[in-house]
Symmetry: D2
C-alpha cells in the first residue's frame, strides 16, 4: 500500500500565543492528507459520502509532537495505511520540515452507514485503497 | 426587542502568535451568542433546523476591532436584533471587557428552506423573537 | 490528586458536515479543561506563561471517540493528572453526555523555559497541582 | 497595484452541520491570501513581524456570502489593495468557484509597533506593496 505525500504551509490562524502551531491543528492537516491520499488512489471521499451515504468517522486519534511548527513553515505530511480491517482503517502520518520529522500520528476509522452502523469496506473501495 | 448578554472566556486555541485573539474567532462567539439569544426567547435553534428544516445562514458579517482580547480574558457579548424583515434578520453585537467596548459587529441572515430558498419568518418564531 | 469537572456546550462552529463535532475540537476542550483545572488548584496558567516565562506545551495527545457529540449538546469534561514526573505531566480526560462516557483521552506535557529546554516543575506549582 | 490570485480547496474541518463552509473560515482564507499577496510582492510578512517587530493587525473585517462553498470545492481568492494610507491598508477579496463570484469581502489593517502604536508604513514596504 503506497504512501502519499502532501506539501502544506502553516497558516497564521493555526498559531497560538506560544508562537507555534496549536496542537489540535495537526489533526486538521491529517484529514487534508487523507482526502488527498484517497484522491490519489482514484477515490473521491466527498462523493463516497454524498452519493453512496458511506461515512468514515474517526474512532481514535493520536499525535506526538517532537518539535514545533511555526507560521509560514513549509512542511510535508506523508500518509499511509498501516492496517485495513473488515470495516476499519488505520492511517499513519509523518510530518517533516526540512527533511526532519517533527510530528507523527495516527487515526483509526470505521466505515459506517447513515445510521452509524459499521459496514464492510465496499470491494471497489478496498481494491483502490490497497492499490 | 430586548438584548441578550453572555459571558465568555478566551480559550488558548483562540489566540495567535501576535498574543491576541485571532480575528475570525469573534464571529464564532457571535454565533454562540445568537444561540443563547434564541434560547432566552424560548427558541431552540437546533430544533428549528432539525425538526422544521428551517435554516438561518449568514449573508453578511462585519467586525470592528477596537482593542484586542487575550487568552483567559473574561468578556461579555451583548446581542440584539436591529432589523427584522420579511425573511431577514440583522444582529448587532458589542463585546466588552471590564465594561469597555473592545469589539462591535453585526451579521445579516436569511431564513431558508432545505432547497436554499428564502422563506417568510414563521409567525411563531417572529412572535418570540420580537418578544 | 483531585479531579476537576467542567460543563460545556457544543458550538455550531465545532460541527462538520457529518452533523457531529469535528474530531480535532475535542482537544480544544481538553485545553479549556486544563486551564480550569489549574485555576481550581489556585494556579493561573496565563500568569505562569506571562510572568514566569514557563510554558507547558503538549508532547502527545490522544483521543478515543465512542459516540459523537452534536450541536448544542451539553456535556462534562472530567480532568485529572494520572502522572507527575520531574518535568512532565499527563492529563486524562473523560467526556460525558447525560452521564454516559462519549469520549476519553489524554495529553502529555513538559514544562519548558523560553528556550524550549525542559525544566523541573517549580515546587510551588507542584505543591498546588498535587493538592 | 496588481492583484494576486490564490487557489485553495475547502477542508472537511471548514464545513459545519449545514453542509457548507462555516462563515468565519472565509476570514482565515483572506489571511492566507494576504500572506501570499505579500510574498508575491517580495515581502515576507513573517520576517516583518519577527525581525522588524512590525505588526499588521486587522481593525475591520467584512464578508458577504452570495452562495456557499462546500467540502472539497476548489476556489480562487483574488486579493488587492483598494486603499493605502499613512499607516493603514485596505484589502479587498473576491472568491470565485467555477468562475462565479461566491463571496466578497474586505479587511482593514494598521501597521503598529510592539507597543501597539500606529506607525507610518516603512518606505521599502510601501514601495513593494505599490509595485
Amino acid at each position: 500500500m503506497k504512501e502519499h505525500t502532501l506539501k502544506l504551509r502553516v497558516r497564521y490562524a493555526e498559531t497560538d500565543q506560544m508562537g507555534v502551531v496549536y496542537y489540535s491543528n495537526y489533526f486538521i492537516w491529517f484529514e487534508v492528507s487523507r482526502t488527498e491520499f484517497f484522491r490519489e488512489k482514484g477515490l473521491d471521499y466527498n462523493r463516497i459520502e454524498k452519493e453512496r451515504k458511506i461515512y468514515l468517522p474517526v474512532t481514535e486519534s493520536y499525535c506526538r509532537y517532537k518539535s514545533p511548527l511555526r507560521y509560514d513553515d513549509l512542511f510535508t505530511i506523508t500518509t499511509w495505511l498501516s492496517d485495513v480491517g473488515r470495516s476499519r482503517l488505520t492511517f499513519e502520518y509523518t510530518i517533516k520540515k526540512d527533511g526532519i520529522v517533527v510530528t507523527t500520528g495516527h487515526t483509526k476509522h470505521v466505515f459506517i452507514d447513515p445510521a452509524g452502523k459499521p459496514i464492510s469496506i465496499p470491494k471497489d473501495i478496498l481494491g483502490l485503497i490497497k492499490g
